[in-house]
């Protein structure tokens, strides 16, 4: 049975698209057939992060409006054979996404895929609502910063009251916290909320902590999901998060500042 995962946050710029791309790629790397859908109608970006922007012919809205078949719109990733991308439309019509249309597309995807990752737009408007409505599980992306934490708590409220599972009194959407852009050095200095602080406030289980890393910017520049980078802490942290999602036990890494050796210090590294 296919599982629908929404990657959401409320606030913009916290790493939803980066996380959707790497999470979906991670599931695909583990052998699961995975589709990742960009719900940000009008502000398509997942295609760029995944490096397939020039291969977009049809999009989610085309499929919903019966202008294209799902198979014509799905883009197969060139690196991972199990990964498919369904891009958002660049239309400015906000009402292009309809609840019935989204449901139809998801049902069709469910027949073929193991996991369907929905990359939510920022905010709590239509696109964000439709991205989370059908979710079985939610990955809530949070930065250790006041506005992000507050907004994610609002999203948790919406998941608990407005999702399909909530409406149907089914088992609630399973929530996971993914803390991104984490700087252990700043946490040690007392200038950044720690993992424990955020967990205490939000009270949902921790899926992973992604350290702030130059690799994230470099990967999006190159159009490669960061999880595919070698020798990168962010990539390792995403792989751990995916493993935990799949039920494996992995110790949390990269929560302490890196100890600089004498040699590195002398070189100013």
């Amino acid at each position: 049975m296919a599982e629908i995962i929404v990657v959401t946050s409320g606030k913009g710029g916290v790493g939803k698209t980066t996380s959707s791309a790497s999470f979906a790629a991670g599931l695909a790397m583990r052998g699961h057939k995975t589709a990742v859908i960009d719900f940000d109608v009008g502000l398509r970006n997942l295609d760029l992060v995944l490096g397939c922007e020039r291969r977009v012919v049809y999009d989610l809205v085309n499929v919903i409006q019966d202008e294209a078949k799902l198979h014509q719109a799905l883009i197969r990733d060139k690196r991972l054979e199990n990964l498919y991308i369904l891009p958002a439309s660049q239309t400015r019509d906000k009402d292009a996404l309809t609840p019935e249309g989204v449901e139809r597309v998801l049902n069709e995807l469910k027949e073929e895929f193991d996991y369907i990752v929905c990359d939510s737009p920022a905010g709590i408007e239509r696109g964000a609502f439709l991205a989370l409505y059908h979710a079985d599980q939610a990955v809530v992306v949070v930065n250790p910063e006041v506005s992000s934490v507050r907004d994610s708590d609002r999203i948790l409220g919406i998941l608990a009251s407005k999702s399909k599972r909530a409406e149907e009194n089914a088992e609630p959407v399973k929530e996971h916290l993914l803390l991104t852009r984490y700087c252990p050095e700043k946490v040690e200095k007392g200038d950044m909320l720690s993992v424990d602080d955020v967990l205490e406030i939000l009270g949902i289980p921790l899926l992973g902590v992604i350290p702030e890393s130059e690799a994230v910017l470099q990967s999006s520049n190159a159009g490669v999901p960061v999880i595919l980078q070698e020798n990168s802490q962010a990539a390792e942290a995403y792989k751990d998060a995916v493993a935990r999602y799949l039920g494996e036990e992995r110790e949390m890494r990269f929560l302490q500042p890196e100890k600089k050796g004498l040699f590195k210090r002398l070189l100013g590294g």
Partner: protein, 85 residues
């Protein structure tokens, strides 16, 4: 700063402030989240009725909805100004 402080790791504490502020605002917003949508309008209308008789401030009315397993209780508390009595 004393000489000893140089050797002591002392958090500058802005994260602590952030945590305290978040704890309060999140608790407040969670409490509001579980109230019915009609509550703000109900509050305004009750205020209008009361003001026909007594002049009260808009914050003189407190409305809470409490749920337990059997029932929901709408708790309404209005503080009247002391000099009107």
């Amino acid at each position: 700063m004393g000489l000893l402080d140089l050797f002591r790791k002392k958090p500058s504490g802005s994260a602590q402030t952030a945590k305290e502020r978040l704890r309060i605002i999140v608790a407040q917003e969670r409490a509001q989240r579980n109230t019915p949508d009609y509550l703000p309008v109900l509050k305004r209308e009750i205020l209008e009725v009361i003001r026909r008789y007594v002049q009260v401030d808009s914050d003189a009315i407190q409305i809470n909805v409490e749920k337990d397993e059997q029932q929901e209780v709408l708790e309404l508390s209005i503080s009247l100004p002391t000099d009107e009595r």
